[in-house]
Symmetry: C2
Subunit: 263 residues, 2 copies
């Protein structure tokens, strides 16, 4: 039995006709993420790859610097406890404070962007590496072909990591867009492969500030979204020298930032 | 100038060709929601209808019971402060505690559902009112026709409230699905029209636990989603006697719960 899929009886209506059938649903269930004894977050996620999700979340939120800080990851049914090495200090106060105090304008998009810098989010290096537009055109189909659960439920977001030759490195699915990204980045971080330089992250939905932040924290130079980007996603990408692509589908896409990485 | 839309220069790639043009983006910017002096949430939202968003959030999260408890709503650029009447007591501790302690299984979907009941989320009454399938088939087109900002940016989620005759009552858009729902429910709550009995809420994306919770807190008997529902959304709808419809498009839909409200 696959824990990410549940079967339920459903009545299907088409025009005037009605029929009963068994539908497959994407499972949504809460996961508690703990750092030692402290609950950091409760997220609604699709079960599976939970340790990677927790590690990725702590990493992309700037709470953890990397796998070298982790002593152990304990897994119970809907709770992950990450324990750090004794010499690691986490300044929770600072993390929360940053959001408010980094800009004279108070709470605003600029303050959010500035808070990323304070959390240690790096400005991406200018790179000589680039990816061909023809390679990018192929990626959405590769992602869809690999999306096993989505194909059966229609209910999951995906995040897929590619190299610049268009080879799929890893794909993760979740009911939450941010969780799919955390699972993917967490897996790479735990394997010691961050920062993910010369990689492209493709997300199935829209590009928000939150997803842009997560990709930046992992050092990913190109974020590509099947849907539209938000204004703050574009501003953030520009500020940190990231390439941001939107509407990546049907052999077309828009470049919102960092055109020099596209051939 | 419309604050929910921003114009940016973009390079558009189609196959091998490239062209520059001005694209319209949905604005994403943080909003701080305060209850008195206490910051309750910072949400990334599309500016506009901010007081309704704050009031709707506090209401659908079970913190506020209704407009009669509100003394005033103060609005600054990216911050809304809701002040309650002096006799209203909010038990913040209880709200947070509920999530953990309502079920012996710890953190899990059942505990999340049980927490809704503890927050005062009502089981919906059995009703003799029903809506015709033919009316439901028309709703997605009405929603799209009304979605002014989405049409220009491709970047916004929508929530639309209809009566059982298919008349559109209110539509709200936002980069965040939950925010669109909070704006809509907040507006109705502030106007003294909750609970929203004999109404249908149509959302542009998928039906998650969170959206189901929000609709339930407002007493909405039918939640219809253009996309797929999650497992926990279906379980929640069944538990509280809500009608849940998914894949509402192209003259078809699936009934996951509460078929007696569909003719």
């Amino acid at each position: 039995m696959n824990r990410s899929i549940l079967t339920v009886p459903v009545r299907k209506i088409e025009g005037d006709s009605s029929a009963s059938f068994q539908d497959l649903l994407a499972v949504e269930d809460p996961l508690e993420i703990r750092l030692g004894e402290k609950t950091i977050s409760i997220t609604m996620r699709t079960p599976g790859h939970d340790p990677e999700l927790a590690a990725g979340f702590l990493f992309t939120e700037g709470i953890l610097e990397g796998t070298h800080q982790i002593r152990e990851i304990q897994h119970s049914k809907n709770s992950i406890t990450v324990r750090l090495n004794p010499d690691v200090e986490v300044d929770f106060e600072r993390l929360q404070r940053n959001f408010y105090t980094t800009s004279s304008c108070g709470v605003c998009g600029k303050a959010s962007i500035e808070a990323l810098r304070m959390q240690g989010c790096p400005v991406l290096p200018r790179s000589s590496a680039a990816i061909q537009a023809a390679v990018i055109h192929r990626l959405p189909q590769v992602q869809r072909d690999e999306q096993a659960v989505f194909a059966r439920t229609g209910g999951l977001h995906a995040a897929a990591l590619f190299d610049f030759q268009g080879n799929l490195i890893l794909l993760r699915e979740d009911v939450g867009r941010h969780n799919a990204v955390d699972k993917l980045i967490g897996a790479e971080m735990l394997a010691g492969r961050t920062p993910l330089a010369d990689k492209l992250l493709l997300v199935s939905g829209r590009a928000s500030f939150e997803l842009t932040q997560k990709a930046l924290m992992a050092g990913i130079p190109i974020l590509a979204a099947v849907g539209a980007p938000s204004s703050l996603a574009v501003e953030t990408a520009q500020r940190f020298n990231m390439t941001l692509l939107g509407f990546v589908r049907d052999s077309r896409f828009n470049i919102y930032s960092g055109a020099e990485r596209i051939q």
